[in-house]
């Protein structure tokens, strides 16, 4: 008996009517298909330019619809906004109990080590900032013990409310933006495109990078179709939309 690879490929060829390949398991030899040419009449791009007011407005609308928390800030105000959000994490006001409520000392935040240091400049003293990289990765159990993660992003799609991370040093390993309960994601307005094809073509420059497409916090509708937000990923997603970079 030949090996599985040879045999499966021979079966596929037989199914497509290529002679000399034997038959499929049920003894068939198929006919060669004649596929129609692939039409590409769909929109390759939207009518609005990347970063235009229209796409920003649409992105915000979609993100709010997904129950992400949106903060539109200038680049100068970004560090203060990050600081405020991180400070809020130490308070008891959050509806969702933290996995590690004993962190009275100072909030522990993980950042990919390529993150712009300036973004963290306003963090209150005592904030415990942990850096993660491919070379020095934190084990999952340690990531489980941090309150929040701050990352940049690669591209965002306004029509679908999608933010894509590609694992570069300012966005970090996939585990970093997954295990902590709160994700602060910084998106520059000029990174926002209108349509999925625009984003895919941009990402296609580096298809080998591990991509995470995020469209709101995780959600399930598995129980009587009742939507529950925040299942396994970060239960809270803050999107910081930065203009004027």
């Amino acid at each position: 008996m030949s090996d599985a690879r040879t045999e499966v490929l021979a079966r596929v060829r037989a199914a497509l009517g290529q002679t000399g390949s034997g038959t499929t398991p049920s003894g068939k030899v198929g006919t060669a298909p004649h596929p129609e040419p692939v039409p590409r009449a769909y929109r390759a791009a939207g009518e609005h330019a990347a970063g235009s007011a229209e796409v920003i407005e649409q992105l915000v609308d979609r993100l709010v619809d997904y129950k992400a928390l949106v903060h539109q800030v200038t680049v100068d105000a970004l560090p203060a906004t990050i600081a405020t959000l991180v400070t809020e994490l130490s308070g008891p006001a959050r509806g969702v109990p933290s996995a590690h409520p004993d962190s009275s000392a100072g909030v522990r935040v993980v950042v990919p080590d390529g993150l712009d240091d300036g973004w963290l400049a306003a963090l209150p003293a005592g904030t415990d900032v942990v850096r993660d990289s491919r070379e020095r990765p934190l084990p999952p159990s340690e990531l489980d013990a941090v309150a929040a993660v701050v990352t940049a992003a690669r591209v965002a799609v306004s029509e679908t409310g999608t933010i894509v991370l590609d694992g570069e040093p300012d966005q970090g390993r996939r585990a970093v933006s997954l295990v902590p309960d709160v994700h602060l994601c910084v998106v520059r307005t000029d990174q926002v495109v209108q349509t999925v094809p625009e984003a895919v073509r941009l990402l296609g420059a580096h298809p080998e990078r591990p991509l995470t497409w995020i469209s709101g916090p995780s959600a399930t509708s598995d129980i009587e179709l009742d939507r529950v937000e925040g299942v396994h990923g970060p239960r809270t997603l803050h999107v910081l939309l930065v203009a004027g970079v």
């Binding site: 490929l9 009449a41 009742d226 299942v231 396994h232």
Partner: protein
């Protein structure tokens, strides 16, 4: 030559199956025991449907769920100006994939290997299960975490791993519910749709082991109990098993589309990842993702985009699993591919839109189809996948009745994001089954054929569509009369002008060859509005 593995030698269903499927006192949650054949369990469709129709709870849940998803889908599809163009491209790309499959598979393999992955080929379920079990054993794992995957359900991977002492933990909430209840999924997308919240609470309390004793039946609390239960599993698992929604031949990239984040956990945290994928799941180029990542979420959950999509290419040093195995699975697919008409079933991207619009599915539920693939797509895919062990070959095989699990109303074709002409394939398979029956038994083919069809079409009470006109949209509402009055035997088809004939020429050609009476021209499905 190996034959497609289906768990058991080819046998007819045991007569006592009908009792077993309704549970025993010591199995409080399982109306359906784990099948030995994931593509062939329970009674044949008409008999199984008669049973499930008695389940009012199931019908209520399903009716609600399919209506909600239909409405959401219609809204998000309606806002895409180029939806039809995307469908046209999706359909054509899938045709290209099938035509170039040998080259594309080898290209995929080459690219995955170049990026540090290992590619395995599996002729059948047994071979695929063997590969996964061996990897888990080499890694010393007695537990693997799993992302919901149709392919691994189809091959009965969990049961095969259990036989080797390896526990497969389902991490999708609905799959977890189904697994804890020792039950079978009833819908591709929302597998626990047949369970309500209080049943789910009872299942968690009885079976989860670490559920809080005061657990309520509020969905949020139930979901958080599952989160806590599964997080420990994610943090400690050494091996994860997933399926794939798409595999890109020209880059070696794999894609998993999901909602809950359990997929990201499985694809990211364990050191070793094994992905089991049917050989048909390819797309030629990375850019093709721009089509399918638009089509799938809107068709599936009725969302503009699903919460999380993960794409990875082989191994990324320092990020995610450092060992990646891809298992390319045949298990009957090449038999489907060999069928000139039926091969279009392999274009399916498993969105489940056709289930949600199907009046038969909504009534009888997923379990009646006796396969992990229920609904309209199941009715064309299951008999073809099992062709080498019977499948479409006459009334010896329970799967041969599946092509009759339809009224041919055409709604499935209207919503299918890759434009699979399910009604035409159903008719083609019916003809095949009738032919097989005639040659093997010499009995009146119509008697056999219409036995199944008559169940669907004859009983106005059982199949009252009238009340559904408002919710289903124009596609089906006007059809209730025609469907409910169609009399059992074949004559009903020629007498009832309203009963839609499928649009494909093959049906009429076939009909003309079989009958002297011409078919009245019926409306084409193109003109029947779907719910857009």
């Amino acid at each position: 030559m190996s034959r497609t593995f289906l768990g058991l030698p080819r046998t007819l269903r045991r007569p006592d199956d009908a009792d077993a499927r309704h549970g025993t006192p010591d199995e409080p949650f399982g109306p359906v025991p784990h099948p030995q054949e994931p593509l062939r369990w329970g009674d044949d469709f008409p008999a199984a449907a008669k049973q499930t129709l008695k389940n009012d709870q199931l019908r209520r849940n399903l009716g609600h769920a399919t209506q909600v998803i239909r409405t959401k889908r219609a809204a998000v599809v309606g806002e895409v100006p180029d939806w039809e163009a995307l469908r046209d491209t999706g359909s054509a790309v899938k045709q290209q994939v099938m035509a170039q499959l040998p080259d594309l598979l080898q290209q995929l393999e080459e690219n995955v290997v170049a990026r540090g992955g290992v590619v395995h080929w599996a002729r059948d379920a047994a071979e695929a299960n063997r590969i996964v079990a061996d990897i888990a054993k080499v890694k010393g794992a007695d537990e693997v975490v799993k992302v919901k995957s149709m392919a691994t359900q189809e091959i009965g991977l969990n049961e095969a791993l259990a036989d080797e002492g390896i526990a497969a933990i389902e991490t999708d909430l609905a799959e977890l519910i189904v697994q804890l209840a020792d039950d079978m999924p009833s819908h591709i997308l929302v597998p626990a749709i047949h369970r309500n919240r209080s049943e789910i609470r009872d299942i968690f309390l009885a079976r989860m082991g670490d559920a809080p004793p005061d657990l309520s039946d509020v969905p949020r609390e139930l979901a958080m109990a599952a989160r806590a239960h599964l997080r420990r599993k994610f943090l400690s698992a050494k091996v994860a098993v997933s399926g794939a929604n798409f595999a890109v031949a020209d880059t070696g990239t794999l894609a998993v589309v999901e909602s809950e984040g359990n997929g990201r956990m499985c694809l990211t945290l364990p050191e070793t990842l094994v992905t089991v994928m049917g050989i048909e799941k390819l797309v030629p180029t990375f850019d093709d993702l721009e089509v399918f990542l638009q089509l799938l979420p809107r068709s599936s959950t009725g969302e503009r985009m699903n919460p999380y999509t993960s794409l990875w290419t082989g191994v990324t040093p320092g990020d995610g699993p450092q060992e990646f195995h891809l298992v390319l699975l045949d298990n009957g697919r090449t038999d489907v591919l060999a069928d000139e008409v039926g091969r279009a079933a392999l274009h399916c991207i498993r969105c489940s839109a056709c289930l949600n619009v199907c009046p038969v599915y909504e009534r009888v539920g997923g379990h009646a189809y006796g396969s992990v693939y229920p609904g309209p797509i199941g009715a064309i895919l299951t008999p073809q996948l099992t062709a080498s062990t019977g499948g479409v070959s006459g009334h010896h095989d329970p799967n041969a009745s599946l092509p009759y699990a339809s009224t041919l109303c055409g709604a499935c074709y209207e919503v299918c994001p890759v434009k699979i002409d399910i009604p035409s394939i159903l008719v083609d398979l019916r003809a095949r089954e009738v032919d097989a029956d005639r040659s093997s038994r010499g009995v009146d083919p119509w008697k056999t054929a219409m036995k199944a069809a008559s169940w669907v079409m004859a009983d106005g009470d059982r199949f009252a569509l009238a009340g559904r006109a408002a919710t289903l949209g124009s596609g089906l509402g006007g059809r209730d009369h025609a469907i409910s009055v169609a009399p059992p035997p074949a004559s009903g088809w020629t007498r009832s002008r309203d009963l839609p004939a499928p649009p494909r020429q093959t049906f009429r050609q076939w009909w003309a060859a079989e009958h002297t009476a011409p078919v009245e021209q019926a409306g084409t499905v193109e003109t029947e509005g779907d719910d857009r």
